[in-house]
């Protein structure tokens, strides 16, 4: 029993970072008032670029390139939605579609339809002391990304609530005109948040292809970006809430894998497809339960125009 729990915990910690980074990216962008449905696409770009780059250079450098790729797609989103005030949902979806098709095209023309060649994964760290201890041992043997994902939400929380830049970010998502009348730049703040969100989403994608797997696969990230958005909503647009929700979803994912591998007999009763849908089903149920008690930033999705109120 304990072993089973440890295995579940281990695979949760392995899968969670991608979701956590992407959800934090969503929080950053949306707290500043820019809807970011393009997280999925930014993750895909990050995963692809990180895997391809890691074929030629050390994997950590590949991860950095993956982040930049996410930010690059986010920059397109920012240009459309901040500079030209286009509809933020449409612009985000366009990014998703471009990333989906572009990723497939590049993958097929450069490598094979199924995925890139294998790369060297990010190194896994063996924690002294707790390695091998029952249950606690699940914390060991992860890539650095897992530990970063456990720390970053708290850092983000501290920045958002306890620093001037955090205060400005919260204000610009609630009432950009108030920020403008104080002589601060609405555009500047939103650009910063969108690019930062892109870096985080790109990191989330890069984790998938360099730590969870050892290559970019055809379907990466397979809807994880949307799950990250759900985690952001369920976490009420707060870093810690998104962290909790993303971890929960990752646990659901681990539960599915654990169920299928530790008790193969279960597949006789429950169809495989149902198990595959389990994490997404959890997402749906949670969002339905949460209902209307939303706490989205008030100016979310509204382009800022100076001469309007």
């Amino acid at each position: 029993m304990l072993e089973l729990l440890e295995a579940l915990l281990f695979s949760t910690l392995d899968a969670a970072p991608a979701l956590i980074f992407a959800a934090l990216g969503g929080v950053l962008s949306e707290r500043a008032g820019v809807v970011n449905v393009g997280v999925e696409g930014q993750m895909r770009a990050g995963a692809f670029c990180a895997a391809v780059a890691a074929l030629f250079m050390p994997t950590p450098l590949g991860v950095v390139l993956g982040m930049l790729a996410g930010a690059g797609l986010a920059a397109i989103h920012g240009y459309l939605s901040i500079r030209w005030r286009s509809d933020q949902v449409v612009s985000g979806m366009a990014i998703n579609l471009v990333a989906l098709a572009g990723g497939t095209f590049l993958l097929e023309s450069l490598y094979s339809p199924n995925g890139t060649p294998a790369i060297e994964q990010l190194p896994r760290w063996t924690l002294p002391l707790i390695h091998g201890v029952p249950l606690l041992g699940a914390l060991s043997e992860h890539s650095g990304m897992t530990y970063l994902a456990l720390v970053l939400p708290f850092v983000f929380h501290a920045v958002l609530t306890h620093t001037p830049i955090g205060l400005r970010l919260r204000a610009v998502g609630e009432k950009p005109h108030a920020v403008a009348t104080l002589g601060l730049s609405v555009q500047g703040l939103r650009w910063g948040a969108v690019l930062g969100g892109g870096l985080l989403a790109g990191l989330g994608g890069a984790v998938l292809s360099t730590a969870v797997l050892d290559r970019f696969e055809q379907h990466t990230p397979a809807g994880l970006g949307f799950m990250a958005l759900a985690a952001m909503v369920f976490g009420r647009w707060t870093p810690l809430g998104a962290f909790g929700a993303a971890s929960f979803f990752a646990f659901g994912n681990a539960l599915r894998i654990g169920l299928a591998s530790s008790a193969p007999g279960i597949l006789e009763f429950i169809p495989q497809g149902f198990l595959l849908a389990l994490p997404y089903l959890l997402t749906l149920i949670l969002l339905a339960v949460q209902g209307q008690r939303s706490s989205a930033p008030a100016a979310l999705g509204t382009p800022y125009e100076q001469e309007s109120r």
């Binding site: 955090g166 919260r170 204000a171 609630e174 108030a178 920020v179 104080l182 601060l184 008030a298």
Partner: protein, 485 residues
């Protein structure tokens, strides 16, 4: 357009809607940029690229629509953009102390730790003023500052303004409420159609003269006070202990009892958000009744639908015309037909009657002096005042028995206001019952035969015309409220 603002004076800038008052001040504040001309500050030409420059030169502005972030605290709102820090960390302690100090210097009482959305409108306005003063503003521009305040709060604001002046600040009031302007300002500048038409000393003028300067032509004085006659017509609406719930499940109407007779105008006074909107919605069938009962035109008030209300003879001029009264992309004549599109002259059998609709619309556009009188124009191409005329025309044309009007003159200029008011009086003379809900206490008092005061969803006072007392009504509008500042 030239205007001189002297140091340490109380200046008022008056003009009709669209006269350019707010645009002028937004230019001074660096939000808009002048196409031509210069701004001289202390004799030096200056160019404000953004509000940041204006703030740096000591100009502060309190906008008509508050520029506060509702989810942040008072202190956070005040220090936003120039936050005190300690080791890179936001120092909220110091922020609160600074805000308290500024408040004390100017005689405000504000809790720096309170969230802005929990404050009354009057207190929020003080936060705005503190925000400007905190940034070292020497010149304070107040855009329509009393539009949302009760008489008491307005009085309080004037006291603050005089105090600021005594400390050497310059205060510029933008307003079109002439009586207030006369009571607070020393010098009054009048604008019309983007140009300065007069500058007068407050002590040497009176309301009528200012009004003429503003409108640009002498106009008939507003209706003299009519003698009060107790209502004799039949009871159109009798409501007993109405209760309705808001979106968050809180009671927004709590035991409201009121009657409206045929041939009277019943006013509802109150500060924004005390249940007025919900009352109108209940009576027009837009909001379900949670408790209480009543009769509306001889049938029960419960389980009323908007369609049923219309069939009984209730017309509704809603508060937010673009959201509830018109479809702004559709033409004037299509909007005229809305709600009656299935009846003659707008339809014949199952088909729309285009010719009949055109004819009726043209008649109404003429009768209500809508400009331009073009039935094919989309409603959004009309000015706010003309849009409102379209709505009023439509609602009165259906020969209502009970008329529910909410903020019927919001955003209209003096002549349009007079026209709408005259129409309402005509309807009363015809024997229609009018329920007039307005945030403008002056409007409620000049129009109504009887007034109910709403506060937090309860009726806190009823007055008939001979008993009207602005101060007492104002007190009832805020009665259970702890004194803020």
């Amino acid at each position: 357009m030239s205007l001189e603002i002297r140091a340490g004076e109380l200046l008022a800038l008056v003009g009709e809607n669209g006269a350019g008052k707010s645009s002028l001040m937004n230019v001074l504040y660096g939000l808009y940029h002048p196409d031509e001309g210069d701004i001289l500050l202390d004799g030096q030409p200056v160019r404000f690229k953004s509000p940041r420059d204006a703030i740096a030169r000591g100009i502060g502005m309190v906008h008509q629509h508050f520029m506060l972030v509702p989810t942040l605290t008072v202190a956070e709102n005040v220090v936003l953009g120039r936050e005190p820090t300690r080791w890179g960390r936001l120092d909220l302690e110091r922020a609160c102390a600074e805000v308290t100090a500024t408040c004390q210097r100017f005689g405000f009482q504000l809790d720096p730790r309170a969230r802005v959305d929990t404050l009354t409108v009057g207190s929020q306005q003080k936060v705005e003023i503190v925000k400007a003063l905190h940034r070292g503003a020497k010149v304070l521009i107040l855009d329509e500052p009393t539009a949302v305040l009760t008489p008491q709060e307005a009085e309080d604001l004037f006291r603050v303004a005089r105090g600021l002046k005594e400390q050497g600040h310059t205060v510029v009031f933008i307003s079109h409420k002439l009586r207030e302007v006369l009571s607070v300002a020393e010098r009054i500048a009048v604008m019309r159609r983007g140009a300065l038409v007069a500058e007068v000393k407050a002590a040497e003028t009176h309301v009528a003269e200012l009004a003429n300067l503003m409108v640009g032509e002498s106009r008939p004085g507003q209706g003299t006070v009519e003698p009060y006659q107790p209502p004799t017509g039949e009871v159109l609406l009798e409501a007993l202990a109405l209760k309705a719930l808001g979106e968050d499940g809180r009671a927004v109407l709590d035991g409201v009892t009121l009657t409206v007779h045929a041939g009277e105008i019943v006013g509802i006074a109150g500060v924004d958000g005390n249940g007025q909107r919900e009352l109108a919605e209940v009576i027009t069938g837009l909001r379900p009744l949670a408790e209480g009962q009543g009769t509306l035109l001889n049938r029960p008030l419960s389980a009323l639908s908007p369609d049923e209300a219309r069939r009984r003879g209730v017309s509704h001029v809603p508060e937010d015309r673009l959201r509830r009264a018109v479809v702004k992309d559709m033409s004037v004549e299509e909007n005229m037909a809305l709600g009656r599109q299935g009846h003659p002259p707008f339809a014949r059998g199952p088909w729309l009657d285009f010719a009949g609709r055109r004819e009726r619309t043209q008649k109404l556009l003429g009768a209500y002096d809508v400009r331009p009188p073009d039935p094919l124009l989309p409603v959004q191409a009309l000015s706010g005042g003309n849009q409102q005329k379209v709505v009023v025309a439509r609602e009165l044309d259906s020969q209502p028995k009970l008329l529910v009007v909410v903020q019927p003159t919001r955003g209209l200029d003096i002549s349009a206001v007079a026209q709408v008011h005259a129409r309402l009086r005509e309807e009363r003379a015809r024997g229609v019952g009018v329920l007039l809900i307005s945030l403008d206490l002056e409007e409620v008092l000049t129009m109504s035969d009887r007034v109910y005061v709403l506060f937090e969803g309860k009726v806190t006072g009823t007055f008939t015309r001979p008993e009207f007392d602005e101060r007492e009504i104002g007190r009832r509008m805020t009665c259970a409220e702890p004194a803020h500042g």
